[in-house]
């Protein structure tokens, strides 16, 4: 059995670990609130944008100036954008992104002979995948340190330009979509070329809009914005998922530390009891020897 002192040291170290995980959980919970607020504010924007875009779907196929966004080319070079976190200790969050990325590259792109480049937003996936993927870029890895619409839009613009310049024929995103704190859904989504869903709702379809200055001009403005919004939304989703996953992971860690503490305290008391019993035995037998 472990000595009293050993058990005491373990108890105090477990206690301090528990304090840390508890603090991390609280920090994550506060951040999560902010992150979900950001998503909630973002949602009406992207919904409205999609519905306007849906209204213009038929015009979009005829407008030359936005053709580059919709153009399907034979996919020879693809860009995979991987959204992970900058820090660890967030459960399976990064592992699932990495797994999905591997799957996409090895099972989808490789058999077709597609040349894949991977770009990382967030550090963790890069740490693991840099050994496996030959063609990586880390230019925008720090985007999560300042997650403003402006920054993300600038990153998206780079992808749009590269796609328009035929550097890539396809751009896909891999990220965790936020469902709730405990659940993230891994998403592999096509960013470019753009897919437009036309409006199904007949009432919406038959509205006779006046277009100023014209459908074409609006599309030129709207389509890139929609693409950027898609990336921004993915970033917000990923960030909320990360904090959610971290909160859950830290909660579990705190609980585990508690269980461990219970066990250690029991062990400590047993050891203490054994020591006392031993001492009494010694005293009693000593006294008996004197009397005898």
């Amino acid at each position: 059995m472990a000595s009293l002192k050993e058990v005491r040291t373990r108890i105090s170290s477990t206690e301090s670990t528990q304090q840390i995980t508890k603090a991390m959980k609280l920090v994550a919970a506060t951040k999560l609130k902010k992150a979900t607020d950001a998503i909630a504010k973002m949602r009406p924007y992207s919904e409205k944008m999609n519905s306007i875009l849906g209204n213009l779907a038929s015009a979009a196929s005829e407008e030359d100036r936005v053709k580059k966004y919709f153009e399907y080319r034979e996919v020879k070079k693809a860009l995979v954008v991987v959204l992970s976190s900058d820090r660890g200790l967030c459960g399976g969050f990064n592992a699932s992104v990495i797994k999905a990325t591997r799957q996409l590259i090895n099972e989808y792109y490789k058999p077709k002979g597609v040349d894949v480049e991977v770009t990382f937003l967030g550090k963790k996936a890069h740490d693991i995948l840099k050994k496996e993927v030959s063609n990586t870029s880390t230019d925008n890895m720090g985007v999560f340190s300042d997650l403003s619409a402006e920054n993300v839009f600038a990153v998206a613009q780079q992808f749009i330009d590269a796609h328009a310049a035929e550097k890539y024929d396809e751009v896909r995103l891999v990220y965790n979509q936020f469902k709730n704190a405990a659940t993230q859904i891994i998403q592999v989504e096509k960013m470019l070329p753009v897919q437009v869903e036309s409006v199904e709702d007949d009432a919406q379809k038959n509205i006779d809009y006046i277009f100023e200055p014209g459908q074409g001009e609006i599309l030129v403005d709207l389509v890139p914005k929609a693409v950027k919004t898609q990336l921004y939304k993915a970033c917000l989703d990923s960030f909320a998922s990360e904090t959610g996953a971290r909160m859950v992971a830290m909660d579990a860690a705190t609980e585990n530390a508690g269980e461990m503490l219970d066990k250690l305290r029991l062990q400590y008391n047993q050891a203490r009891q054994a020591a006392i019993t031993g001492e009494i035995l010694e005293i009693v037998s000593g006294a008996a020897a004197l009397e005898g």
């Binding site: 950001a38 504010k41 973002m42 009406p44 924007y45 992207s46 409205k48 944008m49 306007i52 209204n55 213009l56 403003s148 619409a149 509205i207 006779d208 809009y209 006046i210 277009f211 100023e212 200055p213 001009e217 609006i218 403005d221 709207l222 914005k225 919004t229 921004y232």
Partner: protein
């Protein structure tokens, strides 16, 4: 009529307005009550909103406006 100005990061304005002036990309225009359905792109400029309590101004960097059934939505 009801006006909402939404950016990706927050809702800048939402509420009843009497009129609103937009910096349209084909020239500025104003919408009053019962304006016909309209979708227009906007350029950089000032968006002037007239409410019961006076005039509010917003600087925008371009965007899209949709007017439908006395509801105006600005995506800035």
């Amino acid at each position: 009529m009801y006006l909402e100005i939404i950016t990706p990061e927050k809702t800048l304005f939402s509420g009843e307005v009497e009129s609103a002036k937009f910096p349209g990309s084909a020239g500025g225009f104003e919408t009053l009550n019962n304006h016909a359905a309209l979708i227009s792109s906007l350029t950089e400029g000032t968006l002037e909103v007239k409410t019961e309590n006076g005039v509010e101004k917003f600087e925008i960097n371009g965007g899209i406006v949709e007017v439908l059934n006395n509801k105006i939505i600005v995506l800035a």
